[in-house]
Amino acid sequence: MRSKTLVPYMFVAPAVILFSIFMAYPIIYSFILSFQSGQGSNMEFTGLDNFARLFSDDIFITALKNTFILLIIQVPIMIFLALIIANLLNSALLKFKGVFRVSFFLPAVTSLVAYSIIFSIMLMNDGVVNQFITAIGLDSIPWLSDPFWAKASLIIAMTWRWVGYNMVIFLAGLQNIPEELYEAASMDGASKIRQFFSITIPNLKPVILFTVILSTIGTLQLFDEPFVLTKGGPSDATLTIGMYLYQTGFRFFDFGYASTIAYVIVILIAIMTFIQFKVTGDQE
């Protein structure tokens, strides 16, 4: 009997041991580090100094602003586009659904570094995107060298990468909306656009919330794209909190302050997730 009660522990033991060493311990240790200052192993406890430093650190404030600008603009655009495409693909009129679905989803399997490189090359001053733009008679756009357009470049690239991913989630959600709702609305003479806003979106609300939370968490941690595509520039216009954490920790080896920045990301994710649950969950 004794051996039998040990069975489940035997099954969880490897995961628990690895988790404790490589996840739990680092999470706790970096929390402690966030209250310390110093170089290498000469760390000393400095209370809330690191957190106070955040408020007077212009680069941190820039990174925070950039991250939120990207979040506030990119996530809604992407979710809205994904909803529209999912809706179009769900149309009964359409043939070759599978081909379209694969085409839209394909960007989501490419590595973040690979697609960032491709976009960076396409968006260069004399790159292919500007050649298309000038070919239709418009002025070329300083995609990567202008602070505004550099953010736009990131938003375009991230939207390209993630629209299909979210679209597939919405497609699955759409299957759960009863067909009768649309039939009744059509009988009442509601247009397709009207149906989209008054049937599709309300019914997909839990799924939309799920994707918004996922995207928010992802954007708050954003690192790969700005690191490769815009290198944080020009003049810190696309520096994100994730990149600033990397620079502080691994270029300046200020582990204490870098841990503080990491915990800013932890706190922001907790707050944003809580707000999103509150905003969308209260009516039910």
Binding site: A15, F22, L89, L106, L112, Q131, I169
Partner: protein
């Protein structure tokens, strides 16, 4: 009415085709770039057809990063990680799904809560730990940290909950050992879920960038994303070479995806979609 329907159908198709082209063009552009000279990516009008520089670009790329070594590093790390993590996570998931034991809910809740903590909060202590163990720039430094991946445990647990407990009990009455039950009875019926979770883990590790960038420091240990970003960060960039690298790193995943679409999608979306 009929012509109106037709117009709708055609315009729907046109919109979707444009969207699909936008989705696919960067892949095409990378592949074209891989077969042309560095300058051709900026030529007027743009070079939209394959050139003859592919072999030369690959040769140059090999000289800069050592393609076979980087490919081996990426494959070895991702494969070893996937096998070990799948095994460890499925075992834990099985305990959570099919056993009652003191501490179960507490441990499971801690795993779930940890999914909310971004990876960034662990990298500095991990770096110090690996430095103290003298493990920086080794395979284990990249493989070990995420072996117990809470999301994979959660995914497998959800799937294992549906496995009939009566089958496990019947096997116990027949005198089968717990390992035998796990390997011979439970796992064989979990193949679709295992495949989806394996794909999730593999893609996670194959595309992983921040931690390998920190943990690995020499070209012979680099994974593809780290090698490519380093190549792309040089002051003089040979774009043909870079595009060849991007294409080589991307094609295996695309082929793999086209062959196993269903498992890919359910693995990547966490089985939110069946």
């Amino acid at each position: 009415m009929k012509t109106q329907n037709k117009i709708k159908k055609v315009s729907l198709l046109v919109v979707l085709i444009i969207g699909a082209l936008v989705s696919l063009f960067p892949f095409y552009w990378a592949a074209i770039g891989a077969t042309n000279t560095s300058g051709s990516m900026f030529s007027k009008p743009p070079t939209l057809i394959p050139g003859s520089m592919l072999m030369e670009n690959i040769r140059n790329l090999d000289e800069s990063i050592g393609i076979s070594r980087v490919m081996f590093n990426s494959l070895f790390i991702a494969t070893t990680y996937t096998i070990l993590a799948l095994f460890i996570c499925t075992m834990a998931a099985y305990a959570f799904a099919k056993f009652q034991f003191p501490g179960r809910n507490v441990i499971f809740t801690i795993f779930l809560l940890s999914m909310m903590v971004p990876y960034h909060a662990t990298i500095i202590p991990l770096f110090k730990m690996m430095a103290a163990l003298n493990w920086l720039n080794t395979y284990q430094a990249v493989i070990l940290p995420n072996l117990a991946y809470p999301f994979a445990i959660f995914l497998m647990r959800q799937n294992l909950l549906a496995f009939p407990t009566s089958l496990i009990e019947a096997a116990r009455i027949d005198g089968a050992g717990e390992w035998k039950i796990f390997f011979r009875i439970v796992l064989p019926s979990m193949k679709p879920a295992l495949a989806a979770t394996a794909i999730f883990l593999f893609l996670y590790q194959w595309n992983s960038f921040l931690w390998p960038l920190i943990a690995l420091s020499t070209t012979d240990m680099y994974t593809f994303p780290v090698a490519l970003s380093t190549l792309f960060g040089l002051s003089r960039i040979d774009y043909g070479q870079v595009m060849a690298g991007v294409t080589i790193a991307t094609i295996p995943i695309i082929i793999f995806f086209l062959l196993l679409q269903r498992q890919f999608i359910s693995g990547m979306l966490g089985s939110a979609v069946k």
